[in-house]
Symmetry: C2
Subunit: 344 residues, 2 copies
DNA sequence: CCTCCTCCTGAGAGCGCTCTAATCTTGCTC
DNA sequence: GAGCAAGATTAGAGCGCTCTCAGGAGGAGG
């Protein structure tokens, strides 16, 4: 038994506003006003239209609505990696605001590939999203600016010199400094930084490390890595091969830190007995007791919320001046850091 | 300096197909044929249209296209929890097929709340998605069937008696049996199951546990839990309070297993020395050396791919008979399981 | 009882594109 | 060179909705 679709004659799709209006005995325009909850409709008519809509199982066609109103009420969100729990919480913040304000979210992932991010961006633009949130994107400035000429853009965890793009970031220089200060306080002197390669956010973290090390008069050593577990493990391998005596490692994200810890443990080092490890992001991963990682927290939910709000301010509020929200990172001490060996 | 949008007169938006056609000196219909890569167009005209499109920076309006063609080329994907890495990989599989076949994905998360899932479903339907993939959804059969009357639906990790809905699942009964068999082989006799509460997939896993225990003539003990770390920890707490002597715990997902391990370790038990723990899903979490969890693998990427293919078969192939793909789980032995204490 | 205002209501013109049906070209055949 | 099939191109009618605007219904004021 197939469910009867729509109403009266022949093969008709879902009920349209026209059908509802006819059923209620009013004009299509009036029915439209009711569906959009406009005030200038008499209670009696409103009730009649609503009843008709329910009777016919009417469901507004968002596509037609978008075409006619020239607004899609949709914001495109581009995450570069769904697997990183860091992004899930940013998404939560975005989603929360979107839901409250009646916006839909079109989500895409770049899969850590620039080409795929470009394709996703193009798809967003074709879908005529009203706004765009690019999280830790790999896109070039040029592409971002081009997109910004079509719809408001907010960047998360990525800076931009563009005057037409909003951004939400954490003071990563400070974050890294916090981490290094913590290690120094624990007596560490040989502190290595495994950086995040070309990922956005990687550079300021390295800079914070360098600045803090310089300020303390300590020798810097940076090993290149990336934002993944395997990248961290691989970098740790290279660190071990250097035969440098190191007592602490600052990584540039938690996943990389987990990889580093793996590799070090495998090589027989005890953490934090022999080597202390600090991550970055305070993802759910770091919070797990088995990982128990000292790390730098970024207020992710808040960041997502700020980004969505920034976009909405441009869409609905007409703001045109770029804003940049810089949130403050905090140090979260857990079990992966301890006194430097030999320092009483 | 604001970027000039579109072309000629006044405040015009982005270039339209009409503009392109005019620029190329052909009809709108012809330009449309070119944009849709239809073959019946002479090379000369095709090139002219393409050149005009490039010149004007034309970008097809997906909304207008959807309205006119009555297909959105979009599939809605509802994940119930973005934080569970299990879902990220299913999404990868879905996305991979979607990309290859030219479909967009509209993603929503239910946030583990049925009300929010219902709202998300409604939004999908209003957006006139061509198909729907519900992953481990909390939605009622009635809602699912109603949705299925509007667009093809595929369920992942959730069964349905409905004859109009496709489903992709893992043989969870077998999975749990595999886990129990493994534990028995290691000499365990007192094996407790911490189940997944009302989450889809939880029931067959419990059934597999019960069946395997019965078959071995062992006493069953099920403690209710859920699919989260905190739920696992909490259930482990209740297990400890029972003062039962237990040597092995089978949880119903990896996150819960991590919570269980936390709680047990905190209570002074060594894993797997005193108690063995088995998870379920083989998420990236289980693979981490720090967690190193013996677990049951589900072919997630494959499951996502199958779901997307099933939906496409209905959209494009016109299939109407329901299919149900059952994938085979496998046991992945890691460090969280070992011989039962006392069994040589 | 008529005018002016304030509210409502309904007609109609699109939004940018697809798609069917009709028209126009060509290239062949005989 | 007429006749015609096959291929290339175009006109035109929507898809379902929003939105502007003219016009109608009441009520207050004169």
């Amino acid at each position: 038994m197939t469910a009867p679709r729509g109403s009266v004659k022949g093969i008709k799709g879902p009920a349209t506003l026209e059908d509802v209006a006819r059923e209620a005995g009013v004009s299509r325009a009036l029915a439209s006003l009711v569906m959009r909850q406009k005030p200038q409709v008499s209670e009696e008519r409103r009730a009649r239209v609503l009843a008709a809509a329910t009777k016919l199982g009417y469901r507004p066609n968002a596509i037609a609505r978008s075409l006619a109103s020239r607004r899609s009420s949709t914001v495109g969100v581009l995450l570069n990696d769904l697997h990183n729990p860091f992004f899930a919480e940013i998404y939560d913040g975005i989603e929360q605001v979107a839901r409250r304000r009646g916006y839909r979210i079109l989500l895409s992932t770049g899969g850590r590939s620039r080409a795929r991010e470009e394709a996703a961006l193009e798809a967003f633009l074709e879908s005529r999203v009203d706004g765009l949130i690019l999280v830790s994107t790999l896109l070039t400035e040029a592409k971002i600016n081009q997109a910004a000429s079509m719809a408001p853009v907010a960047l998360v965890s990525r800076t931009s010199r563009s005057p037409v793009v909003d951004s939400v970031l954490t003071d990563d220089v400070l974050g890294a400094e916090l981490a290094v200060a913590h290690l120094i306080e624990l007596g560490h002197r040989r502190i290595v930084h495994i950086d995040g390669g070309r990922n956005p956010g990687s550079r300021p973290r390295r800079k914070g490390y360098e600045r803090a090390m310089d300020a303390a008069g300590l020798k810097r050593l940076v090993i290149s890595g990336d934002f993944s577990e395997s990248g961290g493990a691989e970098a740790a391998g290279r660190l071990l091969a250097l035969a440098e005596t190191t007592t602490a490692v600052l990584t540039s994200n938690d996943m990389a830190a987990a990889g580093v810890m793996d590799r070090l443990a495998e090589a027989g080092y005890s953490i934090p007995g022999d080597i202390s490890v600090v991550g970055y992001d305070n993802t759910s991963l770091a919070q797990m007791r088995q990982v128990n990682l000292t790390t730098i927290n970024q207020p992710r939910g808040e960041m997502g919320r700020l980004a969505m709000q920034a976009v909405l301010e441009r869409i609905e509020g007409g703001r045109t001046k770029a804003v940049s929200h810089v949130t403050t990172p905090t140090l979260v001490v857990r079990g992966s850091t301890g006194p430097a060996p030999g320092s009483s």
